[in-house]
């Protein structure tokens, strides 16, 4: 027996078959689900309209039906495109949920390690070079025999499934699905590193920061664009802002934050951007990569200890000037946050 409720059922099946999808595709799917049900039973009456209100009401209805299952059809704006993205999100990280993944424990450990690199990246760059990401394989615990080539495939899978983004420069950052599903995890694990958009209050890993020292205003690009239309200055410190989020003196958050530092450092080098990127990331990775792991176990929000530790680590490899710069940049980033 076909019923009008089948629209919602088919819609959920359609969503289950996809990882993350745009609001536009989701709405198209809803419309098509209505058509599918009507095709099966022409006389059936199915409420449908193309208005935003109708869509929102449908989403509410869908969510009501899966609320008891700790699932949620949640949406978030893509940080880079500003597009509204939807995904079926699991709210409970119980034993049952751990089965929801095709990934092996080692691959999950690897994913966590990558997230750590991204979250602890200096200067709010929230990204990690592919070189550093691949290096991290050897640090996975428990030990795995994952090869670098295999790690590349795994990273490719994370990207294909919408967990990570891979940029033109080969840097990895968090994709919308990760932000959607891992929001609570990120907030509880990296309370000191997390940055929130002043406008939409969501986690932010790509965007722009006010250039005033100690001013905490951060905005997604799309939030900035909306805000800048009506305001010319920072909402907190009142500093004048340029028209575009990419213009100086505004400070980029995300991958662009790395480029600036690099350009200054490697101006004289004749290496490709990618090469130099890897070069200077590698030593930094040592301090970044090992420090958080040792501290993770006894991590009790003691940022002070972390800073000490990271400085100790940095002292170990003092020869290269590149590292010194990194070293100095790190504590300053932390202090500026307080």
């Amino acid at each position: 027996m076909v019923s009008s409720d089948d629209v919602q059922r088919l819609f959920l099946q359609a969503i289950l078959s996809r990882g993350i999808l745009s609001g536009k595709l989701a709405q198209t799917l809803w419309e098509k689900c209505v058509q599918a049900v009507k095709a099966a039973e022409p006389d059936i009456s199915v409420p449908y309209s193309q208005t935003k209100d109708a869509w929102d009401a449908f989403v509410v209805k869908v969510n009501k039906s899966i609320d008891n299952l700790d699932l949620e059809f949640r949406h978030l704006h893509d940080e880079t495109t500003g597009r509204e993205m939807y995904a079926l999100v699991n709210r409970k990280g119980d034993e049952i949920a751990q089965m929801a993944t095709d990934y092996t424990p080692a691959e999950i450990a690897y994913f966590k390690a990558i997230i750590e690199l991204i979250m602890l990246a200096p200067r709010e760059s929230f990204s990690v070079s592919s070189f550093a990401a691949l290096r991290e394989v050897s640090a996975i615990k428990p030990k795995t025999n994952m090869s670098k080539t295999q790690a590349e495939n795994v990273l490719g899978s994370f990207v294909a499934k919408g967990w990570l983004l891979r940029s033109k420069r080969g840097r990895y950052s968090l994709a919308t699905r990760a932000l959607l599903e891992l929001g609570p995890y990120l907030k509880s694990t990296y309370p000191d590193e997390i940055v929130e958009c002043t406008i939409c209050m969501e986690i932010m890993t790509h965007g722009v920061a006010c250039h005033t020292n100690n001013c905490k205003v951060r905005m997604h690009f799309h939030c900035f664009t909306t805000y800048r239309r009506r305001h010319k200055a920072c909402p907190t410190c009142r500093a004048d802002w340029p028209e575009s989020a990419n213009e100086k003196p505004l400070v980029p958050v995300g991958e662009a934050a790395v480029k600036d530092g690099e350009d200054a450092k490697h101006s004289g080098r004749e290496k490709s951007a990618e090469d130099s990127d890897e070069e200077d990331e590698a030593p930094m990775d040592e301090s970044q990569g090992t420090q958080p792991r040792t501290q993770r176990s006894q991590r009790t929000r003691k940022t002070k200890v972390n800073v000490d530790e990271s400085m100790d680590m940095d002292d170990d490899d003092e020869e290269e000037p590149v590292k010194k710069e990194k070293k100095s940049s790190q504590p300053s980033r932390r202090s500026s946050r307080k």
């Binding site: 027996m1 088919l10 959920l12 078959s17 996809r18 198209t28 098509k32 609320d67 049952i96 495939n153």
Partner: protein
């Protein structure tokens, strides 16, 4: 497209409901719904517990509800990997110490699955039950195949193993597999315009269908699975290991061959051996040592054997459909896939030969239909007995 039409039966995390099997279940469920609805309602309802006087009853009821929800989650997540859900797992992960509540929790979970997702947990038949079924229709064939020493077995009992499949109306499921221009457009727009991935020659595939089977599954290897199922079926429902491998080799898949996996997988390729092992684990196909334990009660051991080709010990193996294949895809669907493939090809050849008038075209279409029917009959004969619907 032959494959598409067979495949279309399959929902993302579930599979096709088959009229005969699901009808009875639906009727059964209908009863449940009624009693449920005036009781405490189904998935989307908010319960108003605690307002009744009998606290103890309410607590038990809340507990059942919570566990039913857990079971639904477990079923959804397990199906994600295409591995069958075993009752022990349900007991361990959902029920805890109160395994006696299984039926109540299970029924409630079925209700939620049906109302919320249009899905059901279907119990796979036991291997022994399957063999018995097959044998009754296969009696004559068995005469000729005495060597395998099959015996009739007692009636099927539950395997206590479940898969998730769709119970939406077949017409809806079919519609959900069609390509739709608008969906196709939005899917194309959704693909991250990763101008940057220059080193990736990979383009994600999408087909504009409501249910995106291209993202939910590894399509290319599923093509191989359907081919294997077809080979087993037309070979009389059982095929020797060497024969199967010879066929696959002729089709361009040598024993050391690699199957491509999509980008969302953590491996670029999978070896034929590893893939066969996965299929056994998922219950699509089953491998046994010849003359090993045909009628014996050691069914549990099946499928656990390593999949290496006939090994040094001199043992020979043969392949059959796994229980999941029968419950998810069904012999009819695979036969249709084969028939459409064979006939479709032939019709294509004729097209090339000449451009017939409309009368001619109609004749040819009718001819094709007739051929299809004949082909199905031939497949049925080759299989050695009536083709089974979905179990």
């Amino acid at each position: 497209m032959a494959r598409a039409s067979t495949r279309s039966q399959k929902a993302p995390a579930a599979s096709q409901s088959q009229p005969r099997a699901s009808q009875s279940q639906r009727a059964h469920r209908g009863r449940n719904e009624e009693s449920d609805d005036d009781g405490e309602g189904g998935a989307g309802d908010y319960e108003a517990d605690g307002d009744a006087g009998e606290m103890a009853v309410d607590e038990g009821e809340t507990e059942i509800k919570r566990k039913a929800n857990d079971l639904v989650r477990l079923a959804l997540f397990t199906e994600h990997k295409r591995t069958p859900l075993r009752r022990e797992e349900i007991s361990k992960k959902v029920l805890g110490p109160s395994t006696r509540a299984f039926n109540r929790v299970f029924d409630r979970a079925q209700d939620i699955l049906q109302k919320t997702f249009g899905m059901e947990l279907a119990e796979l038949p036991t291997r022994a039950g399957l063999d018995a079924d097959t044998n009754t229709v296969e009696d004559e064939l068995n005469e000729a195949r005495k060597a395998t020493g099959m015996k009739k077995k007692a009636a099927a009992t539950g395997s206590k193993t479940y898969i998730l499949r769709s119970v939406l109306h077949p017409a809806i499921i079919e519609y959900a597999a069609l390509t739709d221009e608008q969906i196709l457009e939005e899917e194309a727009a959704d693909v991250p315009s990763d101008d940057d991935n220059d080193d990736d020659d990979y383009t994600p595939q999408y087909y504009g269908s409501i249910i995106s089977w291209s993202s939910a599954d590894q399509l290319s290897s599923i093509g191989v699975l359907y081919t294997i199922l077809a080979l087993i079926l037309v070979n009389g429902r059982v095929i020797s290991d060497s024969e199967l491998r010879a066929h696959l080799k002729r089709l361009g898949l040598p024993p050391n061959g690699l199957l491509p996996l999509s980008q969302s997988s953590t491996h670029k390729t999978i070896t034929l051996e590893a893939y066969l092992a996965t299929l056994i684990r998922q219950g699509y196909i089953d491998r046994q040592q010849v003359g090993d334990n045909k009628a014996g009660g050691k069914g549990a051991k099946r499928g656990r054997v390593p999949t290496h080709a006939d090994d040094d010990s001199g043992a020979t193996y043969e392949w059959r459909w796994g229980t999941r294949a029968g419950s998810e895809i069904g012999e009819k669907a695979v036969a249709k896939f084969v028939a459409e493939f064979m006939v479709g090809d032939a019709a294509g050849d004729e097209d090339d030969e000449e451009e017939g008038g409309s009368r001619r075209g109609r004749e040819r279409r009718e001819g094709a239909e007739e051929k299809l029917v004949r082909m199905m009959k031939g497949i049925e004969r080759a299989a050695g007995g009536q083709l089974a619907e979905i179990k």
